[in-house]
Symmetry: C2
DNA sequence: TTGATAGTTCAATAAACATTGAACATAGGG
DNA sequence: CCCTATGTTCAATGTTTATTGAACTATCAA
């Protein structure tokens, strides 16, 4: 297992890949909840999303989110903390992420969201 | 052949379908060029994009663009004129289309665009 | 060192997708 | 009325995708 997973540079972020990544309801829900949580902690663990799907399927989606440049994964012990690459996305495609997020917010009832009380991240390392 | 192809209502437009539609480089290029052309004519024929792919493949992509609510097709004789559903998209997902379009503009060199002089739409019916 | 926890990787599978060419439908011009 | 131009539909093909479970790796804590 590589110590730090691969992330594209800012310039390597491609628009079609980003849109494709966001077009999957599970991944869109992950990105949306990550954004929702930003005012609290800005990072969530993989396991915080375990209500959405199985571990291996989530790992697959997380890899796609990393590969397209939407999220960054920080390894801390046996946990991996995910955060949105807001600055990079804003620099690359100004306004895009916010437009997608507010669109997702309008249709939040159509997203497979983890219920709020399941997201109780407090302790960080 | 049905006289008028199927189009979703404004409320039926779904975010994941729209993003998925825009994630294909050919479809993104079609939408982008349609937007570019808006100040001139707002409509383009299918055959205006023949440089992008074969007829049947374009018909496939046009159908997806219609099905997800991004474009409307108007039948006029043997031609079909396509136009962006700007108002519907703006009402449904405010700011999204413009954010995608300006992102596409930043990366226009990475899109499979039809060269400008091939888009010489003048006569309309 | 043993066991539990957190994630990744791999192989297998079914569904969806993009692309092609051939056949078809429709309208307009000689 | 034929011929052509414009698009659609269908079947076939190969590719990519999402999902699953099992096996694996790494870290932490007792």
């Amino acid at each position: 297992m590589s110590r730090t997973p691969h992330h594209p540079t800012r310039e390597q972020i491609e628009l079609p890949m980003v849109l494709d990544c966001l077009s999957d309801p599970i991944r869109l829900a992950i990105v949306y909840q990550l954004a929702q949580q930003e005012r609290v902690s800005s990072e969530l663990r993989c396991s915080d999303f375990s209500a959405l799907s199985g571990k291996s399927n989530l790992a697959y989606h997380f890899a796609k989110l990393r590969d397209c440049g939407l999220m960054r994964t920080r390894v801390a012990g046996t946990n991996r903390f995910m955060r949105l690459r807001r600055e990079d996305l804003e620099a690359r495609f100004p306004g895009l992420l916010d437009a997608v997020l507010s669109s997702a917010a309008k249709d939040a009832d159509r997203l497979p969201l983890v219920s709020g009380c399941e997201l109780v991240e407090v302790d960080r390392k």
